[in-house]
């Protein structure tokens, strides 16, 4: 801050003491923003719950509801046993009251599903379909841009996106299944895959994230209800983008979805994920597991826009998002790319990782995490280099405003046999206002000398010189900040598929609007 635009101390709207006018207005903007969660409505629909709390019976009940084979029930029960003894990870820079695992529901489905599961989208309760329409995800087989409001107005037409819609604990339906099947691609809910393709599920489920990986993943293994399953056969380039839209609707209910994506030799798939939840005063737990497997020469692109309800300006309510996402590049020349835009959730604990086993395999991680008000995010990635000549790239941007805490936590590990490998990591943090925090906790482990690891990180406020440059050219201050911040995030936004790029750009603008006076 230069002397010329420093203001005298002024009281902030909510009584916080701030030194300069800029900060006061930031606080005001933050306050205005808190009411902006657009997906906070809830759908009034008759819901059937499993009894509250968690015990072996609940695990059995979920398994029975899904008519699962014995091996899967055994796997769940084994996980449940381990979960009882496992300590909750406490190393993240997160502060939250102990989770009462007995004070919530582990299974909730629309009552209409209890009688007979709809066989096609035509049979689904129209009220449910309207929910997705309201969220901008029409569950129709038409040319759409998923997740983008006003998509009709954009010139990018003619792209198909298949959608699997998960509502609380069940998959509502999956679009374009028939067309995908023609190409040999299996895209369905995981419950369906257990019935239709048990050999594939049995072979791959838990092969990347074991049923005792960490307390949250173990919980997921015990009680996972639905999620998506994708199998792309050898040599197939998936003809369209696949996406899953997760919606929590029921009260006091956790969502525990499990996603499994297998890209067989020489195949390619791009997968998008979106998530929202109603605005409620209670915290709700979301604990997902995502496993990706890329075989020889296969490529998986996984993109997330996470917009769970973040809680109100005072930190009341919001989703506790404890997610385990991991990819294994098993084959030679395989590639996995994680891209995430994290704007929601009261608590985010999430580290999409790559285990680079195959020679020449490649992992990439692009992330923007925005925290505001009382949000806390501890997120990052792990790149575990096991194979020769493996490469990884990490680009992480954390933006913290309000009283939020935003931590990048990452691990890069070069094992002795991962000779000739490379990693490049760049993580930057931006703080808006003097009440928030931005932290960087990288772990770098190099156990061979032909690999090269580079890590750089910076923390700064919005660059005054860049702002000055913009303002000199007649650009208003707010717009200038948006420009600078968009430039700051550009590398990540560019990695997003078209379907999300427009939305992500908008999200960034919304969160930072008016942050500098």
């Amino acid at each position: 801050m230069t002397a010329s635009n420093a203001h005298a101390a002024m009281p902030a709207p909510d009584g916080l003491t701030v030194k300069e006018g800029v900060e006061a207005e930031t606080v005001e903007a933050v306050k205005e923003l808190s009411g902006e969660y657009k997906y906070g409505f809830s759908t009034d629909i008759e819901t059937e719950y499993a009894p509250k709390g968690l015990n072996e019976e609940i695990v059995r009940l979920i398994s029975a509801k899904k008519n699962e084979p014995q091996w899967l029930l055994d796997w769940r029960l084994e996980a449940f046993e381990r979960w009882l003894k496992q300590p909750e990870p406490d190393w993240a820079m997160l502060n939250y009251p102990a989770i009462d695992y007995q004070d919530q529901y582990y299974y909730a489905q629309p009552a209409s599903f209890a009688k007979a599961k709809p066989k096609s989208l035509d049979e689904v309760d129209p009220e449910l379909l309207r929910t997705y329409e309201k969220l901008g995800i029409p569950l129709k087989e038409q040319m759409i841009l998923a997740g983008v409001e006003g998509a009709e107005a954009t010139p990018f037409e003619g792209r198909k996106v298949a959608v699997d819609a998960v509502f609380d604990s069940v998959s509502v339906g999956t679009t374009f299944k028939a067309e995908l099947a023609k190409a040999g691609v299996i895209f369905c809910s995981i419950s369906e895959a257990v019935q239709e393709h048990p050999e594939l599920v049995k072979k791959y489920l838990g092969s990347v994230i074991s049923n005792s990986d960490n307390k949250f993943a173990t919980l997921n293994a015990a009680v996972f209800s639905d999620g998506s399953f994708v199998y792309v056969p050898p040599g197939v380039r998936c003809p369209m983008e696949l996406s899953t839209y997760f919606r929590i609707n029921a009260e006091n209910t956790g969502q525990f979805e499990r996603t499994l994506i297998i890209a067989d030799a020489g195949s390619y798939v791009s997968y998008l994920e979106g998530c929202t939840a109603p605005q409620r005063d209670e915290n709700q737990l979301h604990s997902a597991c995502v496993e990706l497997i890329a075989l020889d020469d296969a490529e998986i692109k996984y993109s997330t826009v996470q917009n769970w309800y973040p809680g109100d300006a005072n930190g009341k309510g919001g989703i506790y998002n404890f997610v385990t996402k991991r990819a294994e590049c098993r084959g030679r020349n395989s590639k996995v790319m994680w891209t995430q835009v994290e704007t929601g959730s009261a608590i985010t604990w999430k580290y999409p990782s790559c285990v680079l086993k195959g020679e020449n395999s490649q992992g990439e991680f692009y992330s923007i995490a925005i925290t505001n008000n009382a949000q806390q995010a501890d997120t990052g990635t792990k790149m575990i280099h096991l194979g020769k000549n493996t490469r990884s790239r990490i680009v992480s941007k954390g933006i913290s405003a309000g009283r939020a805490q935003n931590t990048y936590r990452g691990q890069v590990s070069m094992h002795p046999k991962a000779t000739g490998s490379r990693n490049f990591t760049q993580c930057d943090s931006l703080l808006i206002g003097d009440q928030c925090g931005a932290h960087t906790v990288p772990y770098i482990e190099v156990k061979n000398n032909s690999s090269r690891v580079e890590h750089e990180a910076t923390t700064s406020k919005v660059d005054e010189d860049q702002l000055f440059y913009c303002r000199q050219r007649g650009i208003g201050e707010e717009e200038a900040v948006a420009l600078v911040v968009n430039g700051f995030c550009k590398e990540v936004l560019q990695a997003l598929p078209m379907e999300f790029a427009v939305e992500a750009q908008k999200l960034v603008a919304i969160s930072l609007e008016g942050s500098v006076g």
Binding site: M1, E23, W91, M93, P416, T419, S429, L431, I432, G433, D434, Q435, C436, G437, A438, H439, T440, V441, P442, Y443, I444, E445, V446, K447, N448, N449, S450, S451, R452, V453, E454, H455, E456, A457, T458, T459, S460, K461
Partner: protein, 417 residues
Amino acid sequence: MEAPVIESKVPAWRAAFTRFLAEHPAAQFGAQSRRDAFERFEAHGLPTRRHEYWRYTPLRALDPDQALASKGGDPFAAVDGYRLVFVDGVMDASRSDHLALGAAIDVADGSKDCSWVDIVAEDARAHTAVERPFAELNRALCSHGLAARIPAGVKLDKPILLRYEGAQPAHLRVGLLVEDGAEVTVLESGAGALTMLIEARVGSGASLHHLRAQTELVDRQFASLFARVLEGGHFASFTLAADAALIRNETMLDLTGDEARGHVAGGVLGRAGSVIDNTVFVTHAALKGESRQVFKNVLDEDGRGVFQGKILVRKGAQKTDGYQISQSILLDERAEFDAKPELEIYADDVACSHGSTSGAIDETALFYLRSRGVDRRTAESLLVAAFIEEAIAEIADEDLQEVMRGEVARWMTERAG
């Protein structure tokens, strides 16, 4: 004596401590403060890889009585200064300049009021972000050391040289109160200390330069340094560590005055079974502070280097300028480097950056030299010297820079031989 404790996690150390108190009934710092420190150490236990700040540094067992071996000679032998030689943890008066030093500054010897000794100890105790078990062990068991006050405005004419000799696993403790505007340089060397603890306060506009040579070690050494820097004060430390079973250097810097500066640098030369760990924690708690951490690791054979550096910027510590770089050259495919360069920032108007790189020696540069007729070993020595220079350049005194360069060259020659 203490009430019987539930089985000690460190019975051998408990026995050593009980013995120490019995043999030194009038030991400095008082039995109670020693007991408190030991209890904190005991509660923590010897660090294991489950402790977050020990995940890369294997300690295994640590015997309180294991003798310490040494190799080579004192790199500071030719440096003119106030020399204090400690043999087996006790000052050898015949080889020490304690009288001359006592005449130049205020040295606590029990004969006069030296309540100021407590000031620096309190500063260090205020640092509670991470437990420092070896500092506690030192506070419990230190047998000797130095407590010195450099009065306001006094610029000590020569450095203070602390020399640790002998085979006993000694614990030596140093307290330094550098008053406003005063200046002092402190040098440490020798393998005759298992733990060292320096607690210092650097007053307004004062400066403390610290240099540590750990080039004669064979076994293990645990060095802790706490420094609090007041307004406009300057603290600078450089450590050169080479080839030892385990070296752990912890530097905790608290910049509590506006425009305080703190520089912590180090060179690491590690081969054959050595583990060298530099752990730095810099706290910015005031305006316009500046900190630099510069660490260069050269690792050969199965040598391991560890760097854990943290910059914490407290709320309100605006205009902080924090910089941190940790780099390593791995000369052998078995060498290992682990780094945890952390930032924890609670103020928005700051610039903090950190970088960390690791890899083999630059083949292009090597080829350039070799194509000009320089043999491979010499070329490597040249490139290593250039690599480590950025850290050596952090030393203010040019003669002392030269001493350190000499040690690096000697290490590289030994390698070639």
